[in-house]
């Protein structure tokens, strides 16, 4: 310890302090500040570049996702449209069929009505003709059967025979 104290040189201490303080101040101004600033700037630059690259990547991804979405939407729309078209087609076809059926039914019904009417009219006509014919035939038959007086008497007698008194 005595040796250390004996070896301690105040002059050296003084110079060391002076040199070190001046060196710290000089280097701080001329070296450390610009060096650290540049390092910081560089690191910031790298960080920003990485960040923007990441952003660009994300944007790209978003874009791709958007595209995909649009494509999917378009596809879905197409499918929907096709489906709709198919439905419309089917509907049109079925409607048309139903309408045609209805029309046909109606025509048939009309035809039946008309036929019925015609038939009725024909029947009436036929009946009239048959009646007329029958009357004529009956007239001729009656005229034939009652052409003589005996025949007339015979009829009356037959009729009277049928009549029974109760």
């Amino acid at each position: 310890m005595e040796k250390l104290i004996n070896d301690f040189s105040f002059g050296l201490f003084f110079w060391q302090a002076l040199i070190l303080v001046v060196l710290i101040l000089l280097l701080r101004k001329f070296a450390w500040k610009p060096i650290l600033d540049s390092l910081n700037n560089r690191e910031e630059g790298i960080k920003n570049a990485l960040l923007s690259a990441e952003n660009a990547r994300k944007e790209m991804q978003n874009l791709q996702a958007d595209n995909e979405k649009l494509l999917n939407e378009a596809r879905a729309q197409r499918d929907a449209m096709l489906k709709e078209a198919r439905e419309i087609k089917e509907k049109v076809v079925s409607d048309a069929a139903a309408e045609a059926q209805a029309k046909a039914d109606k025509i048939v019904a009309n035809a039946q009505v008309i036929i019925e009417n015609e038939k009725n009219a024909a029947m009436v006509d036929l009946k009239n003709q048959v009646a007329t014919l029958s009357i004529e035939i009956a007239e001729k038959v009656i005229r034939e059967q009652l052409s003589t007086t005996e025949k007339q008497h015979k009829l009356v007698e037959d009729m009277l025979a049928d009549v029974t008194l109760k």
């Binding site: 005595e2 040796k3 250390l4 004996n6 070896d7 301690f8 040189s9 105040f10 002059g11 050296l12 201490f13 003084f14 110079w15 060391q16 302090a17 040199i19 070190l20 303080v21 001046v22 060196l23 710290i24 101040l25 000089l26 280097l27 701080r28 001329f30 070296a31 450390w32 500040k33 610009p34 060096i35 650290l36 540049s38 390092l39 560089r42 630059g45």
Partner: protein, 378 residues
């Protein structure tokens, strides 16, 4: 590619060690002087344990000369003297060459100065050194503001750092990524920021980056310089580490928020008698933290130098063909470890400084209001 690099590094280490080795044999020679006579003898070879110890002692100390090596046979020194600046009833400036490596006395304005064991003492006209009971000289010492070897090394390192980091700073003006040597410095700067400052200080780290970065590189480069054959030992000097720790201490105290001071003087969440007991302990803790910083750096660097040089000294002491390569191998091994320690100590000093600053600026908003869990982990 990687293998090539390893080979290169090993080669570089080898070259450094070779030069350290040569240096150890040549440089120390001049300092071998006799404690009893206190006269600088014409140096011979370093070949005894005492001389090696003496040499290591001198190496660890600061010096008024910057010697690269000396010629033991002729006593010539190859290097240059540094200016001596004394404050002793007025400013006195002269070249250290006047001391002739301690052989001559310097008389100036009626006072006589003697360079003895790398320190300047005031003596009588004959240059007599008197010793106290503890074995240290009792002669008066003038305030020595000399530009010593360590001061010169610090100035060179400061200049180097300024040039390096200024160029790194200006490299960013043109492009985002530095080229050349900046590529080596940038990861270190980022390391200090991301692994030392941010996790320990938190969001306010930016304010302390100047101090942390400067201290980190200052210690690191001086540590590394200490491994070169230049023979400087700045971070293994107690005055230097004291100054570094003192600055940390000052910064910590000035950044302390009210929670920090409250924890020291009126510990929340403990009974009042405990508060009174804890107060001096906490105040002591305030001082022991930077004190540990100072001792840790000093002891680690000094120990490293002592070990490396002792192993080299053993080569000289044994002087045979088996010990030489064996201790050379040991030295190589320890030098590689020292390389690691150079980084480690710079890191630890900076990390602990950051930690202490972090403790001082920490916000306690997340604590429950009754502070029942507010007892800090020591």
């Amino acid at each position: 590619m990687k293998k090539d690099n390893i080979v290169k590094i090993l080669l570089a280490v080898f070259i450094v060690l070779f030069s350290v080795n040569n240096y150890a044999q040549e440089y120390g020679v001049e300092h071998v002087d006799n404690e009893d006579t206190a006269v600088h003898e014409v140096p011979g070879k370093i070949d005894t344990k005492e001389e090696v110890t003496e040499y290591i002692d001198h190496h660890l100390q600061d010096s008024h000369y910057f010697n690269f090596f000396s010629d033991g046979a002729t006593g010539d020194h190859y290097g240059f003297p540094l200016p001596v600046i004394l404050w002793d009833n007025g400013l006195k400036v002269f070249s250290a060459s006047k001391f002739h490596h301690g052989e001559s006395l310097v008389s100036l304005d009626g006072a006589t100065y003697k360079l003895y064991h790398n320190k300047i003492y005031k003596t009588n006209s004959e240059g007599t050194i008197t010793y106290g009971e503890d074995g240290f000289p009792t002669n008066a010492r003038p305030l020595d503001f000399s530009i010593t070897k360590n001061v010169l090394a610090m100035l060179v390192v400061s200049l180097l750092m300024f040039i390096m980091f200024k160029s790194l700073a200006s490299a960013y003006k043109n492009k985002d990524i530095p080229t050349g040597f900046g590529r080596v410095l940038e990861p270190l700067v980022i390391y200090v920021r991301d692994d030392i400052a941010k996790p320990n200080i938190g969001p306010k780290y930016r304010k302390y980056m100047g101090f942390l970065l400067t201290v980190f590189f200052f210690i690191l480069i001086l540590n590394l310089f200490g491994l070169t054959p230049l023979g400087i030992n700045v971070t293994g000097n107690i005055a230097v580490t004291f100054c570094l720790a003192l600055i940390t201490f000052i910064i910590v105290q000035f950044s302390g928020n009210k929670h920090y001071w409250k924890h020291i003087f009126w510990m929340p969440g403990v009974p009042i008698p405990m508060k009174i007991v804890l107060m001096p302990i906490e105040v002591l803790g305030m001082i022991t933290k930077p004190f540990a910083l100072m001792i840790r750096l000093f002891a680690n660097m000094t120990a490293g130098h002592v070990v490396v040089m002792s192993l080299l000294g053993l080569i000289v002491v044994f002087q045979n063909w088996i010990a030489g390569p064996a201790f050379f191998g040991f030295t190589l091994f320890i030098s590689v470890i020292e390389l690691l320690v150079a980084f480690l100590q710079a890191y630890i000093f900076t990390l602990l400084s950051a930690l202490y600053i972090g403790m001082a600026v920490e916000e306690h908003d997340h604590h429950p209001k009754d502070h029942s869990e507010d007892i800090p982990v020591i």
